[in-house]
Amino acid sequence: MLLSESARVTTAQEARFRIQAPNSKPRAVKVIALDSEAARLVDDISKKPWNGAAFFKSLSFEQSGGGNVKAWLNDLAGHTSDLVGEIADADCVVVIAGAGEDAAAVSVIAELCTQYHKTLVALVVPQGSYEQDTVDRSLKALRPYAKMLVIAHERDYIEAMLTALRA
């Protein structure tokens, strides 16, 4: 019997002929810690080598003319950059919240993600011996905005996820 096309191409033998050229360009992943607990984690992770992922540890706001509020992101080295610019330039935005911490800043970020059509991924990281309702509070704050919401009990998950996303 003649082998069908599918039978022939699905062998290990044929798998070797998959084109080895890269099939994607590096993507800009912006990782934003929403609170001080999350900032500590992000701080650690940012020290590892990444493919251009950018890490931010806090947001600050500034009243500008006409009642407008301008939001700034602070990176780990203490530099500030414009939140709008960072989001506009992102391929994927990951926010990280310590369970029960104030995640209010997410609404500002989320609004920009909607405006610029960016996917927002939110990670909730419960700390040591946490209370379930602290996790719930974070989830509630993040749920309306995140396209993907993850509760990650293992801290090394953040790293695993960023690696998986080629961040």
């Binding site: 019997m1 599918s6 989830l139 995140a146 998950y157 695993a160 996820m161």
Partner: protein
């Protein structure tokens, strides 16, 4: 994306490998009871986790799962004579019982005790829910016997099938926790398949092809919730449990039987896809059972006399480009089971994950891999037994629910995710 060494770690399950050890921490389904239908029936060859074995039911109904090859000169015991409480090799008559113990070496005087010194490797084989299960790990750490709901309801409430799939177990399992493919690949079947159609929830699936996800860790694995818009600002949630290492369930639809899978490695380049359907509180109707036998729902039709799907790679999965163009099927392949299997086989025997580009909504898959790697390493390096081995872990169910916008499904649907005797599934 996984690095090469990570991909090797999660896909290799042979003896001595970290993932192999992990798999050897659980009871795994390996045969249907129908494959060993009666005492002294023909023995069956079975390969699991890259180990070749023979399964048989002896004259007293005892089940045996032993090394396939005769200890004398290596003949396959598949040719053996299953008689008088043992399997006798047809070459020179050596005979083995269900524990692998050699009980007769005809060339040697019985009194010599020669037979006693010969024993084939054997694993326990037990029967539950129409399925034969084995545990291939150390005896001291044998977990509780399978308590999955599909295997504990009365037999008239369940239907279990298996199919051979020519690719590594992981790419098959990942299909089981990837709810975002349903709105594409299986689109044509939601309203047509007799085991899917008519459910109120289907319209949300079809109307909203961009679900939002929530991944929650469970002690034994994960819950992956996919959220779609329903009426008046409420959400339609479909919740898929994954229990380590290879059990997944599909969220139910209406009062249709509820279903799921086990993805069991045969070797690193093939696996058995187990598909079970059951109703927690009522017998399956004749129509449902017939549909399952006819390969509807998650089941498939077979090459007669085998567990190989009728639509397979040798016939290009009977792809129908007309049906694809017309939208009757999204990929041109008929049937939900084969739609999944054909695409997963097309990835090649072992998917090269160094080349993939995952997106944020793939976090369920990312998390499952992460937990597998973690658990496999902890077991291999420190002897820490992996999660997913308790009766509680096995008492899971998938669910489909409509919830108000501010309710976390993990709490609001908490009861719905636990299998309870006599309680119907929670479904829309």
């Amino acid at each position: 994306m996984l690095k090469k060494e990570q991909n090797d770690l999660v896909t290799q399950t042979g003896p001595g490998t970290p993932m192999g050890d992990l798999f050897r921490s659980y009871w795994l389904p390996i045969l249907l009871s129908e494959e060993l239908p009666e005492n002294d029936c023909p023995p069956v060859r079975v390969k699991v986790l890259s180990e070749r074995m023979i399964a048989f039911r002896d004259s007293e109904g005892k089940l045996g799962l032993i090394d396939e090859f005769c200890a004398h000169r290596g003949v396959s015991l598949w040719f053996g004579r299953n008689e008088e409480c043992g399997l006798r090799c047809p070459y020179h008559g050596w005979k083995f019982d269900t524990t692998g113990q050699c009980v007769d070496v005809p060339s040697e005087p019985e009194e010599s005790g020669y037979a006693k010194k010969v024993k084939l490797k054997a694993y326990p084989l037990i029967e539950k829910g129409g399925v034969l299960w084995t545990y291939m790990g150390p005896t001291e750490t044998t977990p509780p016997e399978p308590e999955w709901e599909f295997a504990t309801v009365p037999l008239n409430q369940s239907f279990t099938s298996k199919r051979l799939q020519d690719n590594n177990w992981l790419q098959a399992m990942e299909g089981g926790i990837d709810s975002s493919h349903v709105s594409f690949l299986h689109r044509g079947d939601l309203n047509n398949d007799p085991l899917f159609k008519g459910a109120a929830g289907n319209k949300y699936n079809l109307a909203d092809s961009k679900p939002v996800f929530e991944v929650v860790e469970a002690p034994g694995g994960l819950y992956i919730g996919a959220r779609r818009n329903a009426e008046e600002g409420s959400f339609y949630w479909r919740i898929t449990p994954w229990v380590m290492p290879c059990f997944t369930m599909v969220p139910p639809r209406g009062d249709h039987p509820i279903h799921g899978h086990f993805w069991v490695p045969i070797d690193d380049e093939s696996c058995t896809a187990w598909s079970f359907d059951y109703h927690p509180t009522r017998p399956l109707t004749d129509t449902e059972r017939q549909a399952m036998k006819d390969g509807k729902g998650i089941h498939v039709r077979y090459v007669p006399g085998t567990y190989r799907p009728l639509a397979n790679k040798d016939n290009d999965y009977l792809i129908d480009r007309e049906a694809q163009k017309a939208g009757r099927t999204y990929s041109g392949v008929e049937g939900i089971g084969m739609q999944d299997a054909s695409l997963q086989e097309s990835m090649g025997p072992i998917c090269d994950r160094t080349k993939e580009n995952l997106v944020g909504t793939d976090n369920g898959i990312i998390m499952a891999r992460h937990r597998l790697m973690r658990a496999a390493k902890a077991l291999h390096e420190k002897g820490v037994l992996p999660p997913g081995r308790t009766v509680e872990d096995m008492k899971v169910r998938s669910a489909a629910v409509i919830l108000p916008p501010d309710q976390p499904y993990k709490d609001a649907a908490k009861e719905a995710l636990i299998a309870k005797v006599g309680v119907r599934q929670t479904s829309v």
